[in-house]
């Protein structure tokens, strides 16, 4: 039954995991996402659906527990925040290499290092450009609301299994900590399927299954790389998601994802009130990136300003997408600071309109 609730982002995420039919959650506490495991432990989903929850000894162990469970064909997930996600990067590379589906949530805080516990978007590069070693990609979903966080849990598991690849939800401390109205989807039953690639115990008459990312022969490893790249090209073709706001008559364009996009919408209203025709393109998937959409908008607008809670990361992908057709500038606050609509409007006027 669909259900309306007022929920904190992290708790809604945890509830969505249970409802999405997740089989296992492995995590380790870190601010600002500890409510995920706290909610799961309180909710005790093993009694609701049979989903197991375990607090691991480290983020490293947690992602490797995910690897073990995912190799069994189960819907497994973990969540953490920036420093913890860095620790998981080894495991994420192995998951991508062994082509295992799983869901990883990063409720981003400011860095580098221990940084700050305040919200940030400074892990864009890490999420989108690899982070771990080797040529791999994750599908990266960037929610801007608690509702979207919930919906992306379900979508994330679906995409992970469709492509046998790790999927990351790149949230941030604002979305994780704030409360919003959310419509929860109905309980999805846990799957009883045993995929042929999963370690479920050797069946008579079939070869034993091996889950591995190791290929000692270069020819074989290149084949794996080519298969992965083909998968990523297919994802780029089929899975791009974005939203546009007031783009039809736009002479200028904002580009922002997640929390920054919410604040940017207020800046848009203020700009429109002053007679500045500005639209917003909000990528919902950061990989695959909405290259075509930006390229098309570049034919229409006089300039694009990316608004990010980092020192300028997505701006590089926007520049690549528009390929020099129009001016692209970046405005950001970071270290846990959140840009105000005034600052954003001012940056548009200084860097794009006046610049």
């Amino acid at each position: 039954m669909k259900e309306l609730r007022l929920m904190k982002g992290n708790e809604a995420l945890a509830e969505a995991a249970i409802r999405a039919g997740a089989d296992a959650y492995f995590g380790y506490p870190i601010t600002p996402q500890s409510e995920v495991i706290e909610y799961l432990m309180a909710e005790n989903p093993v009694e609701r659906t049979g989903m197991v929850v375990l607090q691991a000894e480290s983020e490293v162990a947690a992602i490797n527990m995910v690897y073990g469970a995912a190799g069994c064909g189960k819907k497994a997930m973990t969540s953490s925040s920036s420093p913890g996600i860095s620790l998981k990067m080894e495991g994420i590379s192995y998951l991508a290499g062994a082509e295992l589906p799983c869901l990883i949530v990063n409720v981003v805080r400011g860095g580098p290092g221990l940084g700050t516990i305040q919200p940030s978007q400074s892990d864009y590069f890490q999420a989108v450009k690899g982070g771990g070693h080797g040529d791999y990609k994750m599908i990266v979903l960037a929610p801007a609301t608690v509702q979207e966080t919930v919906d992306f849990v379900k979508l994330g598991f679906d995409l992970a299994f469709k492509y046998r690849t790790p999927v990351m939800i790149l949230s941030d401390g604002i979305i994780g900590q704030m409360m919003e109205k959310v419509e929860l989807f109905e309980q999805v039953p846990r799957s009883t399927e045993e995929p042929e690639w999963a370690t479920v115990g050797k069946k008579p008459g079939r070869e034993h299954v091996v889950v591995t990312s190791l290929q000692l022969q270069s020819e074989e490893q290149e084949k794996v790389n080519l298969r992965l790249q083909a998968k990523y090209r297919e994802i780029e073709k089929k899975e791009v998601l974005y939203e546009t706001y007031d783009c039809d008559d736009a002479e200028y364009l904002f580009a922002a994802f997640g929390s920054a996009a919410r604040i940017t919408r207020k800046a848009m209203e203020m700009a429109r009130a002053k007679g500045i025709k500005v639209g917003l393109l909000r990528p919902q998937t950061l990989f695959p990136f909405p290259v075509e959409a930006f390229n098309k908008m570049a034919d229409q607008v006089k300039g694009i300003l990316t608004v990010e809670m980092n020192a300028g990361q997505m701006v590089e992908d926007v520049r690549l997408a528009v390929n020099g057709k129009t001016k692209v500038e970046h405005f950001g606050r970071f270290g846990g600071m959140i840009p105000s609509p005034d600052e954003i409007l001012n940056a548009l006027e200084q860097k794009i309109i006046g610049g």
Binding site: D23, A24, F26, V52, L54, A56, E57, S58, V60, A61, A62, N64, M65, V66, Y67, G68, A69, A70, G71, C72, K74, A76, E90, G91, Y94, A98, T199, V200, G201, K202, K203, P204, H208, V209, V210, V211, T212, S213, L214
Partner: protein
């Protein structure tokens, strides 16, 4: 000639079907082959081939999944007990084992080993201790003996600067989560039989959800130790066994 001999009435021994026909890459004289066979025979004799999931480590036995005819996962270096935890938690009714060397289990994977044992995960950990990093070419391991030479302790392990060898097996035996902890060897038929009995016991305890069982096998590395296989076994008896004495370390209270 040999074909004529293989008649049912002459057959006293055959390779278990839980081992594949793949030619092993291990050096002649290495204990891995025997340890693999013993573990495979136990799985065969218990009739649990279809219910067993193994986890291979990083190290010489990284390709163990090519030799065991059971579903297997290859873990990142040291992470096998965490991977096994993930498997066992979603499949509590299956038999799950890890097969790890000393570098994997006692250096980079110390945290995963101790915490899996402390949680009492119902898994079997087979720990091969040969006091050296074999696959990477003979570097110092956490279990390298004091004074023992390796490519990263060319003048012998100086405990003052390089630290002491770690007795992980004694360490995990202290934890409430472990149920059966033993140290064995496979260099003689008698030792191989004892090891097989230990592994069988461990698998039977796993069926009863008793907690973590760890079977250490003190083994040789004639390539890494730069000895002939015979010399290596002798050196192991004279040097490894006094420091890593064989026998049960923690046995269930009946």
């Amino acid at each position: 000639m040999s074909e004529n001999l293989i008649k049912p009435e002459n057959l006293v021994y055959k390779k278990t079907e839980v081992l594949t026909d793949k030619v092993m890459h291990y050096c002649p004289g290495c204990g891995h082959g025997t340890a693999h066979r013993i573990l495979a025979e136990v799985i065969d004799e218990m009739g649990i081939q279809g219910e067993t999931i193994g986890v291979a480590p990083v190290g010489c036995s990284v390709l163990a999944y090519n030799y065991f005819s059971v579903d297997m996962t290859e873990a990142a270096h040291g992470r096998a007990p965490a991977v096994a935890t993930g498997i066992k938690r979603v499949f509590p009714e299956k038999f799950v084992f890890t097969y790890q060397g000393d570098g994997d289990l006692a250096a980079i994977g110390t945290a995963e080993t101790i915490h899996a044992c402390n949680r009492g995960e119902n898994i079997l950990i087979v720990f091969i201790n040969n006091g050296i990093y074999g696959m990477t070419g003979g570097q110092m391991a956490p279990t390298t003996l004091p004074g023992m030479k390796s490519s990263t302790s060319p003048r012998g392990r100086d405990v003052a600067t390089m630290g002491n060898p770690l007795k992980m097996t004694e360490l995990v035996a202290q934890l409430p989560g472990t149920y059966f902890v033993t140290r064995q060897a496979v260099h003689t038929p008698g030792n191989a039989r004892k090891t097989k009995r230990a592994i069988k016991k461990a698998m039977e305890y796993q069926k009863l959800n008793k907690g973590t069982c760890l079977v250490e096998i003190v083994s040789n590395c004639n390539s890494g130790w730069k000895m002939t296989p015979v010399q290596a076994n002798k050196w192991m008896e004279e040097n490894m066994f006094p420091f890593y004495p064989l026998g049960d370390i923690k046995v269930p209270k009946e």
